[in-house]
Amino acid sequence: MAAITEGGAAIALDGAQKTRRHLTKARIRWVVVALILMFGAVAGRLIQLGLVVQDTTIEGQTRDLITATRPALLDRNGLELAVDIRVPSLFAEPRRIIDVNEAASAIHSVLPDLNEDWLRGRLTGDKGFVWVKRELTPEIEDKIMQLGIPGLDFVTESKRFYPGGNEASHILGAVNIDNQGIAGIEKSMDNDSVALLQSLGLARGNELAPVNLSVDLRVQHVMHDVLTDALTRYQAVAAAGVMMDIHTGEIVGLVSLPDFDPNNPVTALQKDSFNRITAGIYELGSSMKSVTIAGALDSGKVRITDSFDARFGVRFGRFTIDDFHGKHRILTLPEVYKYSSNVGAIHIMQAMGKDTFRAFLTRLGFDKTVPLELPEKRNPVVPAKFSEIVAATAAFGHGLSVSPMHMLRAMAAFANDGYMVTPTLYRRSLEDARKTYEQVVSEKTSQEMRYLMRLNALEGSGSRMNKFALGYRTGGKTGTAEKVVNGRYTTGANFNVFASAFPLDNPRYAMVVIVDSPRAENAQSGTTAGWNAGEATGRIIQRVAPMLGISPDFNPMLDDELVPVELR
């Protein structure tokens, strides 16, 4: 209602009802504002909570990675080679510890080997997580839990345990405290599968399917046992051996001494305990004559009935190469092999031609490392081009260095109808193995090589081996190389090899045994390969053959059937 008066300003007055309405509107507005603020605060807090990232890492690593498991490793018959055990590890949350001194002395009372001052320093501060001691026993876990100190807790970790200890150390390798492989098959598994599984979170806490290796633990044990014995018997610096199924390429045993204890991974990195089978390259001496002769027979330029003049040494400028067990007469090819004639081997190589010989070495894979799962490998040293003298020395195994694994693969091919297989440490079927076959020599050459190997065991340098392995139709070639010390060949120390295959009437396994710097066992024995590497091979075969389902057979017909038709 407005009252209008003349000549004066208009005065407007609100009625009591209108005034109250305005007041109510204002109050509602304030309430709305208050509510918006309140709910806004709640929403803001919710967003804040949602954005908080929980720190689940343990000293830079995710908690899951610490508890990650690895698959159990079994041998070919299902015996455990490596298993995971769950062990508690003690950690502390320093920011939740109330009395550092009390906590430190309490822990010290249970774990006396921990320094109390170190503990106090460890437990002081505002950190969210520190390890106190890893990989404890359940008993210690109980004792510490009973102390009832706030801020101490346990996490269950997986720890790798190798029940066999040293026995298969070079195959298995080792893992570090974070369960990552640092050597051997453990490392190679990390490289291709387990690390991936762990990073995807599939290997956490729950069990992974166990992995079967190709190794036969019984064979592995026998090889380890015999080679350990050889180390003391011949006072050798080192000894190593490897056995392979020539059809499937499965490695059934691999030992290299001195070795290490995978349960104590620090020892794995010692310089002297490297894997001599895959990571050692050596001049393999006369055992290389198998390669020379196989190449020559396969080239067709040399026949098994040929004879070679070994009456005089071969001269190259100032040097004359002569024979160790010199016969100094004309030798047939089997005699060259049997008497291990350097001169004969050179003539055989020359008949084949040095370039053909070099190409044959390439065909055998002597230019690169052997494709095997183990990460410990070293490139072989074979001159890219052979001069006359280098080819001559290479014919009897000097001037080129390959690993024993190379020799094993070549010997397996010579016994396996000329098919060279890719070795493996995992179980493999024959069909899968056939896909990796490469024919390096003909079937006929393979037959002739089997005859030569057996002949050498019956009449040549392998006879000491055959004394132990009687009835198992074993054959092989010795190799005694003078070691190179400070760039010169020394006559004092030998590097001895025995490369063999058995049973030769139906070959199944190939083996290479090396003995480094052996001494004579007694006054009557020698230091050449037949006396040590050869005898060790015989002892291994004598014990291992029955386990592998090979029964002894003394039928002389079996040996006669190995003789090629031309020589009967």
Binding site: L79, E80, V83, D84, I85, R86, V87, P88, P138, T156, F161, P163, G164, G165, N166, E167, L217, R218, Q220, H221, H224, D225, L470, G471, Y472, Q542, R543, P546, S551, P552, F554
Partner: protein, 125 residues
């Protein structure tokens, strides 16, 4: 009308409140139970893994071999020699029919009171 509706709503709210409250407690109780069982499983798995490792260790040739070596003398253990293997072909074949004549003569001698086997035994003594 609105009054009764309000009373119904208030009552349902109170019941729902009590229900949710009880549910919350039972859930947290179940969660605690689950955690306890999980801890137990973890502990038992750990124990199991230790036992498995123990078994594997005891089964290893590396562990059995020294035990064998210790008892070589008492049990007269020796490595298997090659000539100790036999074959089925070496065994003589079983006779297709019993030797009737030999049996007849055996029965005759038994009837007459002479036991040839007893004779062999007494002769050897």
């Amino acid at each position: 009308m609105i009054r009764t509706l309000n009373i119904v709503f208030v009552c349902t709210s109170i019941f729902a409140l009590i229900g949710v409250y009880a549910l919350k407690y039972s859930v947290s109780e179940t969660a605690a139970e689950k955690a306890a069982i999980q801890r137990q499983i973890e502990r038992q798995q750990a124990d199991l893994s230790l036992l498995k490792a123990d078994w594997a260790f005891l089964n290893q040739p590396a562990n059995v071999a020294p035990i064998v070596a210790r008892h070589v003398a008492e049990l007269n253990l020796q490595n298997l020699a090659q000539d100790q293997f036999g074959r089925f072909e070496v065994l003589p074949l079983r006779l297709t029919a019993p030797d009737a004549l030999a049996l007849d003569s055996l029965f005759e001698s038994l009837n007459s009171g002479v036991d040839p086997i007893q004779q062999i035994i007494s002769e050897s003594n």
